[in-house]
């Protein structure tokens, strides 16, 4: 029997993203979200307790135990179903985390609830890129590449100009592009490779070394600078190491002050919920927004996708099945 709690839980199933503040472990974020969802789901108004009919003998009807027998029927609530005795209806809610963020970084963190966890594992396997903003500072080098670590070296940075920085970034981007082509396992001289490159589908499948698909400098005010990165299979420590290596290439030193993820797949900063909005109702709104945007993304997709290219990758199989189904419906509506 569906209770109001279960109906609310069904509406909470899906994917959504939150903004993880810096300095907080991702596990605490997940636990806090689970607690607030539990309070929301268990807070729905309870149904009245089931009643049971009990027959009680009338006192004083026959004290000598004689033939007169009067019983009265009373409908009493079954206390064993009371939430104070059997506990709240939901004691755990399965909340899973997508690509993790370490405690130093901040940014978009994708979470899934209930049935959405299956979509989350598919999402995890797709070769979607992630956008990061890295803020660095010249002049120091530390042991863990961040400004909170132990200082290992100090150096001057007066000789660094934007032109030199751009040259270093271009060199890094070239090296990463070479790695991308190498990991994508396609013969570079084939037509297939050209078509995939045109569509931007070149990339490693599954696990590989971290690859930066795009890298550019958005702000340069020595000693501070800001980089924007699109990457695959990365970790936040690797990104801080990239900043450190940029400093070394420029014959100085650099530390990373902020690592901020601005996009994870289709989830952007705009959809992310700050910690003031980690309540059940706000999360429900975010999940419903995700479901409706998923439908919008599917319908224009079916006309443009070429089914031959979609043969690679496990998740693409499901997508092609869905696209076939929606193609049929589109054809039927046209007719």
């Amino acid at each position: 029997m569906t209770t109001p709690c279960i109906r609310m839980f069904r509406r909470l199933e899906g994917l959504f993203c939150v903004y993880k503040p810096p300095g907080v472990h991702w596990k605490h974020v997940r636990d806090r979200i689970e607690t607030s969802l539990l309070t929301g789901v268990n807070g729905t108004p309870q149904r009245p307790l089931p009643q049971v009919v009990k027959f009680l003998a009338q006192p004083g009807a026959g004290n000598d135990g004689s033939s007169e027998l009067t019983l009265s029927a009373a409908s009493v609530p079954v206390l064993a179903s009371h939430p104070l005795v059997s506990g709240p209806e939901f004691q755990r809610i399965p909340v899973a985390v997508g690509h993790r963020l370490d405690a130093f970084s901040s940014g978009v963190l994708v979470l899934g609830v209930g049935n959405g966890n299956k979509a989350l594992s598919d999402f995890y396997k797709t070769p979607a890129t992630r956008d990061y903003t890295l803020e660095g500072e010249f002049g120091t080098a530390t042991d863990d590449f961040s400004h909170t670590g132990r200082v290992v070296e100090r150096s001057t940075y007066g000789h660094i100009t934007q032109d030199k920085l751009e040259r270093v970034l271009a060199m890094l981007q070239g090296a990463n592009q070479k790695a991308l082509l190498m990991y994508s396992n396609i013969d570079m001289r084939s037509q297939e490779a050209y078509e995939m490159a045109v569509q931007g589908l070149l990339g490693p499948e599954g696990k590989s070394a971290p690859i930066l698909k795009g890298l550019r400098c958005v702000r340069f005010e020595p000693p501070h600078f800001t980089l924007e990165v699109q990457c695959l299979n990365e970790s936040q420590k690797y990104l801080r190491k990239v900043v450190h290596e940029i400093g070394l290439e420029l014959r100085s030193t650099a530390v990373c002050k902020v690592v901020r993820r601005t996009r994870d797949g289709v989830f952007t900063l705009q959809d992310a919920l700050t910690h003031h909005h980690w309540t059940a109702s706000d999360v429900m709104g975010a999940i419903q927004q995700y479901h409706s945007s998923k439908k919008l993304r599917k319908s224009p997709h079916t006309q443009t996708k070429d089914p031959t290219i979609q043969s690679r990758g496990e998740d693409k199989k499901t997508e092609s099945q869905q696209s076939e189904i929606s193609e049929e419906t589109a054809v039927s509506t046209v007719l």
Binding site: Y19, P21, P22, G23, V24, L56, A57, Q58, P59, G60, A61, G62, N63, G65, S67, L69, L71, V78, L79, A80, H82, P83, L84, V85, S86, G87, S106, R260, L269, A272, T274, H275, H276, H277
Partner: protein
């Protein structure tokens, strides 16, 4: 999860007896009590001689010798008192098969019956009941209303279980506790609390203590919370409770204060007078406060009297050595915000480090607004960075456009944004996404 111990069986049997007696009070009182008392004797015999009773076959033989028409329910009550699970099912099988016996096997079974007292448990399934009695018991036979009432269905109360759910409808104590608002589900997870609650009798144990709490001024709505947090108050001696309340009153705590202290720190009255005295003396001595101020601090945070003193001593040392506050500054902080004494040391040092080294606040300003030490670190950080971004992070009272620390920390988000930062709440949330 805790397992309700089998020691409660005696209590359960006696409470069952009481319940059934109360229900059928008007009728057959004498008959039922006699029957139940014999059953109780059987039960106690089982419990004491449990080692000697091997699988209950001799036990059954003892019952069969009586060959009463009411064997059926009596045996089943005794089945539930048998504490070994395997023979229980074996007995049940034996009993079920015995009912289907035909008359031709009577002689053979009677012989077996005589041998059963000396022999080991008989393993084959058709045995050891008086078949004459079994034959006369038919489900379709007409019986009078009195007999119908006296055949009470044996309640399916399990002898041992991990949850109080199975007993709550039958036990008066548990139903009354649920009606008061006690969270039985939380309590049964604590070891031994479930069995303790079951063994209590409402009229003699629970009711006098609840009335005592009401007398000292605790409100009815708080009784559920107090019992959920501290169920052991029901097993505490009433005289001790009265002595402790009198001691607190002798230390010049008013009646309302004592009531509020008990409702906010439910474990308070479980501690001896000596321990309470010890703690009050410690706070007065260590903090160097007057009696009135000590009383005020303890009245506002009564759990200071309940917990251990070691964390408090460490916190005081942290404030003195690590944070660098002077004696009179610590006194002022504790009197304004007593929670600092029980705060987490790491969090306290983290907040202080941010306030002093990043926000560049001097000691005397922090002492002036001790509430900041009680606030959440993330909150202080976000609000400070927002004000810094807007260029309004000015905490020095001598300079213009001064922002006081208590307004920084205690105001709710929307008031903070409009009054202090002169920005909208959406701007604040957008700014948070850039950190």
């Amino acid at each position: 999860m805790s397992i309700v111990s089998l020691m409660l069986l005696a209590a359960m049997a006696s409470s069952c007896i009481q319940l059934c007696c109360r229900r059928c009070s008007g009728l057959l009182r004498s008959k039922i009590t006699v029957q139940y008392s014999t059953q109780a004797q059987h039960c106690t015999a089982v419990l004491t001689a449990s080692s000697r009773v091997s699988n209950g076959s001799s036990f059954l033989a003892g019952i069969c010798a009586a060959s009463h028409t009411r064997q059926r329910w009596r045996q089943q009550m005794c089945f539930y008192s048998e504490h070994k699970a395997k023979p229980l099912t074996a007995e049940a099988n034996r009993y079920k098969d015995a009912e289907e016996l035909s008359g031709s096997d009577v002689v053979a079974y009677k012989n077996r019956l005589q041998n059963a007292t000396d022999s080991l448990p008989v393993t084959d399934s058709q045995v050891t009941l008086d078949v004459d009695a079994a034959k006369s018991l038919s489900a379709l036979e007409e019986i009078s209303d009195e007999e119908a009432v006296s055949i009470s269905v044996p309640s399916a109360l399990p002898p041992a279980t991990t949850s109080l759910r199975d007993y709550v409808d039958k036990s008066e104590t548990l139903s009354k506790l649920v009606q008061l608002g006690v969270n039985l589900w939380k309590l049964e997870q604590r070891p031994n609390v479930g069995s303790m609650l079951l063994k209590l009798d409402f009229q003699t144990d629970v009711a006098p203590r609840l009335l005592f709490l009401k007398d000292i001024g605790v409100e009815d709505s708080r009784l559920g919370y107090i019992l959920s947090t501290n169920p052991f108050i029901l097993s505490e001696d009433l005289e001790n409770l009265r002595t402790r309340v009198n001691y607190l009153r002798s230390m010049k705590f008013s009646s309302e204060t004592v009531a509020s202290m008990v409702s906010r720190a439910p474990y308070l009255l479980n501690f001896s007078v000596k321990r309470l005295d010890n703690r009050l003396a410690f706070y007065q001595q260590q903090l160097g406060l007057s009696t009135w101020k000590t009383r005020d601090v303890v009245a506002r945070l009564p759990r200071l009297l309940c917990g251990s003193l070691e964390p408090v001593k460490e916190n005081l040392k942290v404030c003195q050595i690590e944070l660098g506050f002077k004696e009179n500054e610590i006194q002022h902080i504790v009197v304004t915000v007593p929670k600092v004494l029980t705060a987490n040391k790491k969090k306290l040092t983290q907040i202080f480090d941010y306030l002093h080294n990043t926000m560049k606040l001097p000691h005397h300003l922090i002492v002036k607004f001790p509430q900041v030490l009680n606030a959440k670190y993330l909150r202080i950080k976000e609000r400070h960075l927002f004000l810094q971004y807007l260029g309004k992070a000015q905490y020095d009272p001598t300079q213009p456009s001064y922002v006081s620390l208590d307004r920084l920390v205690t105001l709710p988000d929307d008031t903070f944004c409009t009054d202090v930062a002169s920005a909208t709440l959406q701007d604040f949330h957008l700014f948070l996404k850039t950190l």
